[in-house]
Symmetry: C2
Subunit: 198 residues, 2 copies
């Protein structure tokens, strides 16, 4: 079965986004990550900044923007409103096909489509700690605490949308340790599977 859509879920610092971009280049697919924020904003009627902040801090309920958005909420709760818009945008992009979608529980949203390849990228803590400092610079917080914090958020966020456990092999067609296998090789493996399925 041809795979027209690739979803990439990933641990923070594992290079999942970079792998997704490489796969998109190799296959000539559209790469969708930050690009989705604008679409979700349009679909939900919320400001881009609110959507971006929600995606970044999905389970961090104390932010100022979040508080404003909640106070403006209608019948649908704020998070449900964004999640519904996300699901609609992801489904529409999948329908257009030939794309790589990063994060946002896209594997769950598209679980009933047979033309999707669902990927999970993870890596050991040391590899990721080194990588986030290289990629995003130092902060006042220790790298290990930044990893744990972000992983915990993604875990809770994923569970809240999907009711499934984040990182369970069975939710993906392929899961790869990018630190051991290497980013470029991970991208090659994924692209080869897609090419073979054509």
């Amino acid at each position: 079965m041809e795979k027209r859509v690739i979803t990439i879920s990933r641990e923070f610092g594992s290079g999942g986004r970079s792998i997704g971009r490489l796969v998109a280049e190799k296959l000539g697919y559209r790469f969708l990550d930050q690009e989705l924020i604008l679409e979700v904003a349009k679909e939900s009627g919320l400001a881009e900044e609110v959507v971006a902040e929600y995606e970044e801090y999905a389970t961090h309920r104390s932010s100022f923007l979040y508080a404003i958005a909640v106070s403006n909420g209608g019948n649908l709760s704020f998070s449900n409103q964004i999640q519904a818009a996300q699901a609609k945008v992801i489904a529409a992009e999948a329908e257009r096909g030939n794309c790589v979608i990063v994060g946002r529980g896209a594997d769950y949203v598209l679980k009933d489509r047979t033309d999707c390849l669902h990927v999970f990228i993870h890596a050991d803590t040391d590899f990721r700690a080194k990588r986030i400092v290289e990629q995003y610079g130092e902060t006042s917080k220790k790298p290990i605490d930044r990893l744990n914090d972000k992983d915990q958020r993604r875990k809770v966020y994923y569970k809240s949308i999907t009711m499934r456990d984040w990182g369970m092999s069975q939710n993906y067609h392929i899961s790869l340790n990018s630190g051991v296998i290497g980013l470029e090789r991970c991208a090659d493996i994924i692209a080869d599977i897609v090419r073979a399925a054509e």
Copy 2:
């Protein structure tokens, strides 16, 4: 880092054992599955049949052989006795190197070695149900019940040995859905990773 040992954990009916055998052939590695029973029996001082039955029904406490073995137990509990022997045999085989080891929580036993590639093979229920009937024939039990029963046992067995959750991506370097990717291609992907790491 050269990968001299490959461990394969797998869902029942996913073809993990067949993939392991293919990988061993492709790389010229020793294939260790049933072969380990004799070694574990020797190491533990227990009969081969008792070890085989323990491995098959690790969490099924009502069997006759199990009852006999328990009644003969010393200070070390029966299951601890087998598990300790398994761990010793697996560590010795890994030390010899160039082998594919199936099941038995080998990924956990060898987790601190850097020359191992840890693999998890899974597949959708329909694929596995069809496969177990083809491979092992019909029984009075529905295929789906056989799958659930065996998966549940492996899950409990793995947790009892490792205290980790069976099937979590992070416990393996690569996890593959053999039904979607195909057994032969799964074996190629694994063998290629090992060759590239040499």
